[in-house]
């Protein structure tokens, strides 16, 4: 198992770590059993992700995928953010070891989960917009 330089860079210097006090979109995916938990905080204004922060409990890849995912969606529209795939996360990190691919899935789902939360807060059913991944408590390691 060997991480790319890009992964190591995002692990050693993760971007957007922390919480947002007045976040209007918060998502959490993963679970303790699996050993990876990602929590995403967003400040969404006019359909645009103005600010985003994360907190992650997990391996190097979990930290790096959280970091890059926040970078990839920051300043983007909700629609653009929802189109983020785990594949795009992997590509942006210049690859992930096979056993760590689930972390990229988790990152994708964390973003979606936060956006789903945003819709819920506004009384909108997120399901048709975000898809069914909004309540991901089953982690891929249990598959």
């Amino acid at each position: 198992m060997q991480y790319s330089q890009k992964v190591m860079d995002h692990f050693a210097n993760p971007r957007n770590v922390g919480e947002i006090e007045d976040a209007n979109a918060i998502g959490e995916v993963g679970n303790k059993k699996c050993g990876d938990i990602m929590k995403i905080y967003m400040k969404i204004e006019d359909d645009i992700i103005k600010d985003i922060k994360f907190k992650t409990f997990g391996c190097g890849a979990a930290v790096a995928t959280s970091s890059i995912a926040t970078e990839l969606v920051k300043g983007k529209t909700i629609k653009e953010a929802l189109s983020l795939t785990n594949k795009a996360v992997i590509d942006a990190l210049e690859g992930l070891p096979p056993v760590k691919v689930h972390c990229s899935v988790l990152a994708e789902e964390a973003i979606k989960s936060a956006i789903a939360d945003y819709y819920k807060r506004q009384g909108i059913d997120p399901e048709p917009i975000v898809g069914c991944s909004c309540n991901c408590t089953e982690c891929p390691c249990n598959e």
Partner: protein, 382 residues
């Protein structure tokens, strides 16, 4: 670089490499050949065999070299199980994967396996073994010392129970050999696995002690090497290195135990004093001299290791084989840790070559790293 993962593997000691070099160069004969270079190789193997035998208090004829500790485990377990009539076999929940997966394999192939539980310190209760033994039990395998948490089992007492029921008793002593005193007669075990690379010898060499009279099928068929019981052209240089490393380990045993034990206890104390929310895994005193295993709440082990690595500190979060796997350590779960805590463990394994300065450096680096990861963790609330 500070290397404190000696339970994963050790550097070859310079004296050991010196002894190996002739067999990597001019003394290259095949030990089965009758001419001079073959005889030299054969003698070198005999010498190494005598060294291992002496270190274990065994007879030379009871020592069989293998290609690894894992092979010794596989051979012992499958070999004894397959030569027996009974279909019930016993091991523990905290064995190394070489033992555990061999038992699981047998479990899928007609055997019934009992996995003994351990207490919070990782100790097997002899009463549990007594209760598990059946008429048709044909093998008991319990490791001497655990590779993750360092807990040392009461092997003598456990082997005695096996003896009373005439059941062959195997112990995986890969972590214990060369680090604590071991004597097969005193322990009363029938089979015992060891590996060279854990004691300053080369990788790719192990040995199995098989008490005379123990029924065991062959694992590797072919030539007549190792008293006809383990075919393969011998890894002569590796075997020579193993013999030498064992000899050195025995010579310095008391000194090394004293040194690493005090380093271990010093380190444990310092960590406990300076990092909150940490838990020492394994038995406080019945543990390998060099073993330290801490769980740091709210953080995950791999991240911790990567950050230590960036500071030039090489340590582990459990056994080397499980790194890169998604499952938390089966050993930590067996001693009752919660999943998320089991994920956050750090194993430091000192050798006699580590120093107090190194221990201090590790603690100094560890404090901010743990804090940084906690600050990043959604589980941590100040």
């Amino acid at each position: 670089m500070i290397y404190v993962d000696n339970a994963a593997t050790t550097p070859i000691k310079p004296e050991v490499l010196d002894k190996m070099m002739p067999y990597l160069t001019e003394k290259f004969g095949n030990p089965s050949s009758i001419y001079k270079s073959g005889r030299e190789a054969k003698e070198a193997i005999s010498k190494a065999r005598a060294d291992i035998a002496e270190a274990l208090g065994a007879d030379e004829k009871e020592i069989y070299f293998t290609g690894s500790g894992s092979e010794a485990d596989n051979w012992a377990i499958k070999g004894v199980a397959h030569s027996a009539k009974g279909r019930h076999i016993i091991t523990t929940a905290i064995e190394h994967h070489a033992v555990l997966h061999s038992f699981e394999y047998l479990g899928r192939n007609g055997f019934e396996v009992t996995y003994l539980k351990v207490d919070n310190d990782g100790l097997v209760n002899p009463d549990d073994l007594r209760a598990a033994v059946r008429e048709d039990t044909s093998l008991i395998s319990i490791m001497t010392a655990n590779n993750e948490i360092g807990t040392i089992q009461p092997i003598k007492e456990l082997a005695q129970i096996a003896k009373e029921h005439k059941i062959p008793f195997h112990t995986d002593a890969v972590q214990a050999f060369g680090h604590i005193p071991l004597n097969v007669e005193d322990l009363g075990v029938d089979l015992l696995s060891v590996s060279a690379h854990k004691i300053g010898g080369p990788k790719g060499v192990g040995a199995l002690y098989i008490r005379k009279g123990t029924k065991i099928t062959q694992f590797m068929h072919g030539g007549a090497q190792e008293y006809g019981k383990r075919a393969s052209t011998e890894n002569v240089a590796g075997i020579v290195g193993f013999g030498c490393a064992a000899g050195l380990a025995m010579k310095n045993l008391d000194k090394n135990i004293a040194k690493t034990t005090s380093l271990r206890d010093y380190f444990i104390k310092k960590v406990q004093e300076s990092i909150p929310h940490c838990r020492l895994n394994g038995h406080p005193t019945k543990r390998l001299p060099g073993n330290v295993n801490f769980s740091f709440e709210f953080i995950e082990g791999e991240s911790l290791l990567l950050m230590l690595d960036m500071k030039g500190i090489e340590a582990s979060s459990g056994s080397a084989c499980t790194s890169g796997s998604l499952d938390p350590s089966h050993v930590l779960l067996a001693i009752g840790l919660e999943h998320e805590i089991a994920h956050g463990s750090l194993r430091i394994s000192f050798s006699e070559d580590n120093t107090v300065e190194e221990a201090d450096t590790i603690v100094r680096e560890l404090i901010p790293i743990v804090q940084r990861l906690r600050d990043m963790s959604p589980l941590y609330h100040k």
